[in-house]
Amino acid sequence: MVPLDHVIGLSAVLFTIGVVGVATRRNLIVMLMSIELMLNAVNLAFIGFNRMWPGEPGAIALDGQVFVLMVIAVAAAEVAVGLGIVISMFRNRDSVDVEVVSLLRW
């Protein structure tokens, strides 16, 4: 059977990679992608835990999977708006480098 603790471990690894991606890369699009990756890691954890507690035959518990669907919906919304921002940023600054948009500071 699929070793569940490794599943959660994998999700942790992916999440950390996502975090590192967001922290290090300066290209906004790659940061968005890393965030997508983090969301996917979370989805994996959800599915893993749901597989761990599927509920009795009578009452199947699918909370994890429903939640994953919701996360996907949210992720889609987030990407749509995120890329909207990227486009408008590119239009104003001709670059997607995060360092360029540092006007809002003390």
Binding site: M1, V2, L4, D5, H6, V7, I8, G9, L10, A12, V13, L14, F15, T16, I17, V19, V20, G21, A23, T24, R25, R26, V30, L32, M33, S34, E36, L37, N40, L44, I47, G48, N50, R51, M52, P54, P57, G58, I60, L62, D63, Q65, V66, V68, M70, I72, A73, A75, A76, A77, V79, A80, V81, L83, G84, I85, I87, F90, S95, V96
Partner: protein, 166 residues
């Protein structure tokens, strides 16, 4: 080592490698996007192994098919050239991030070892029928809220990205 376990490790390795590829890929963003797609597909494979069939398909269709294509669309539209890793100061941030990453990695792995073995599966666990029923009976409010969210996102994206026609 049963077939699913082997498959799982294969997919896991693929996912991790492509994830790292995405993050490390500096020269061109489309390559990052491609590696992201590979991660998505790998994860979809793992979902199938974890008996979440509907979610796997949706993962491919939505994440793989739509979201990453959106990324590609934007990248191609904006015709971006590559960007470098930034000045030395960035190195500090990167190092710190890497350190945190490694620390979190080991620590979480240690924490989550020793989870119970997966219990037997109730019939029809991850199929589209049960998930559909769950979606539209217990979580119908969630679905409505999600639809509301998506509409808002569409409007938002439209306004943000629309060229100012004045």
């Amino acid at each position: 080592m049963t077939v699913p376990a082997v498959l799982f490790y294969a997919f896991a390795a693929l996912a991790v490698l492509s994830a790292i590829g995405m993050v490390v890929q500096v020269r061109n963003t489309v390559a990052s996007a491609m590696s992201l797609v590979i991660t998505m597909v790998a994860l979809a494979g793992i979902y199938v192994l974890l008996e979440a069939h509907l979610v796997a398909v949706i993962q491919i269709m939505v994440y793989g098919g739509a979201i990453v294509v959106l990324f590609l669309f934007v990248v191609m539209l904006l015709n971006l050239r590559s960007d470098d890793f930034g000045p030395a100061r960035q190195r500090l941030v990167r190092l710190a991030a890497a350190a945190i990453g490694v620390f979190a990695l080991t620590w979480m792995l240690r924490l989550f070892s020793g989870l119970p073995e997966a219990p037997p599966l109730p019939e029809g666990f991850g199929g589209y029928r049960e998930v559909g029923i769950a979606l539209y009976t217990d979580y119908v409010l969630l679905v409505e809220v999600a639809s509301l969210l998506l509409t808002a996102a569409i409007v938002g994206a439209l306004i943000l990205a629309k060229r100012k026609i004045d």
